[in-house]
């Protein structure tokens, strides 16, 4: 069965390593924070100028001056630091963030990503996404594998305006964990109960299935 949003976040969390500085985008990615393994420490970077994002505040703790990049009220974890937007993107652009997790509308076999604009429909802007995909070496895209109508979001070529070119290497969908390499998708894991055939059917770009594909462990 396809993974829930929480399960996607749960699987992403397995990619976290002790001492990682991580930027979580909006949508599914923030849920990753709920599944950080107990035996590791991770610091969350929020591109509006906070390193060491904590949990949501209690009603009493709410502070209008303390929000995350999703404009949600948050708290600071111990050891947090605050900085301006140029410093924040110096961190991001300079490659100091160890892992970035963000959503997308489409990715393709060349590692291109489209996530910020649907011409004529959705023109809200890229926010920090273009900087994040250009600056990070280690990015995981989280998305549904296909639209409700069964149209694949893993393409030969992105059809929407790009957020970044050739920068995505890992995609975690509700059906599969996929690596992008040599101009192809490579199936690494499948969601529990989801068949390789189903994934092939819903993947538009070339998909390499090599040997036995294990189910994800959640």
């Amino acid at each position: 069965m396809a993974l829930s949003r929480e399960q996607i976040a749960q699987r992403v969390a397995q990619e976290l390593k002790d001492g990682y500085y991580v930027n979580l985008g909006i949508g599914i990615p923030p849920l990753v924070a709920n599944f950080i393994p107990d035996d590791i420490e991770v610091m969350l970077q929020s591109e509006n100028g906070l390193l060491g994002m904590g949990q949501f505040p209690t009603e009493d703790e709410i502070d209008a001056d303390l929000i995350n990049a999703g404009k949600q009220t948050v708290t600071m974890a111990a050891g947090a630091s605050i900085f301006d937007s140029a410093e924040s993107f110096a961190m991001i652009r300079g490659g100091h963030v160890d892992l970035t997790v963000l959503g997308a509308f489409e990715v393709d076999v060349n590692g291109n990503i489209a996530s910020y604009m649907i011409p004529g429909k959705l023109i809200k802007g890229m926010g920090g996404a273009m900087d994040l995909v250009a600056g990070a070496d280690n990015i995981i895209v989280t998305m549904t594998h296909a639209s409700k109508h069964g149209v694949s979001k893993l393409l030969s070529n992105c059809t929407l305006p790009l957020t970044g070119k050739g920068c995505i290497k890992k995609v975690l969908t509700d059906l599969a964990f996929i690596e992008i390499r040599d101009g192809k998708f490579h199936l690494l894991e499948r969601a529990p109960g989801v068949s390789v055939e189903e994934i092939i059917k819903l993947t538009d770009g070339e998909l390499v299935v090599s040997g036995e594909i294990a189910e994800m462990k959640l």
Partner: protein, 241 residues
């Protein structure tokens, strides 16, 4: 002798000299750390044809959004917009020019404007619509695009505390674009929650030195919250407890 005393008494005085078709750079991220009352003063003045440089454009009735109904904004340079209906209407109708700029590039453009750096290369936006018409150059085997600095006729800033010399301290994530915008205005106007005595701010902990600041005014702020997210107060529910 005025010396370095930058405190002004009224919002009219704070925004004196702002005229039609100027470029205004505004601090703030979403509704956090925005110069609420300086924006209101621009609304009151009715200045038109403005080019606004700001990460966002407020909401329908708050922040920079209040400048939309009277069509005071000609163009906005921002990374994320459209949190309000009037904005989308004007943009779709072609009444409002929107230049979408990646957030980090926007911050760096402001910093560059203040720092006398006319242009810089960045990998952000390579191969995307943002790169259209821009020079692409390879350094160490990777492609980068050339982005130019932004300077404003005015910069409008919200800080937490200031002294009369214009030294500024920001509070938590209300800092965001404010220190950068402060450097990039030909005239930089700052509204603050508190004006303290000169010497009261620790020199090591001043975020923006007064050299960048032309006018300071003390205001009171609504500080509207966009996404009020909370957790239950019961500590037993907190993770690990």
């Amino acid at each position: 002798m005025a010396g370095f005393d930058k405190v002004v008494a009224s919002y009219a005085e704070a925004m004196a000299g702002l005229t039609d078709n100027m470029t205004v750079i505004a601090g703030g991220f979403g509704l956090c750390g925005i110069p609420e009352n300086l924006i209101s003063e621009i609304e009151r003045k009715g200045t038109k044809g403005l080019t606004l440089v700001s990460n966002n454009c407020g909401v329908d009735d708050f922040g920079l959004g209040v400048l939309l109904p009277n069509r005071q904004i000609k163009k906005i340079i921002a990374s994320y917009v459209g949190e309000n209906a009037e904005f989308e209407r004007q943009m779709m109708a072609g009444e409002l020019e929107v230049e979408l700029t990646p957030q980090g590039t926007l911050a760096e453009k402001m910093r560059a404007g203040g720092a006398g750096i006319p242009a810089f290369f960045t990998a952000t936006g390579v191969g995307t619509p943002v790169a259209d018409g821009k020079e692409v150059r390879s350094f160490n085997g990777r492609d980068y695009i050339l982005e130019e600095a932004i300077v404003g006729d005015f910069a409008i800033i919200k800080a937490w505390k200031a002294d009369r010399y214009g030294n500024l301290v920001f509070r938590k994530t209300a800092r965001n674009f404010n220190p950068l915008a402060a450097t990039a205005g030909k005239i930089t106007v700052v509204e603050v929650e508190e004006i303290v005595e000169v010497g009261e701010l620790d020199p090591d902990q001043i975020h923006t030195p007064g050299i960048y600041v032309n006018r300071v005014i003390q205001g009171s702020f609504e500080k509207r919250i966009e996404q009020r997210t909370t957790r239950p107060a019961d500590p037993l529910i907190a993770k690990g407890a």
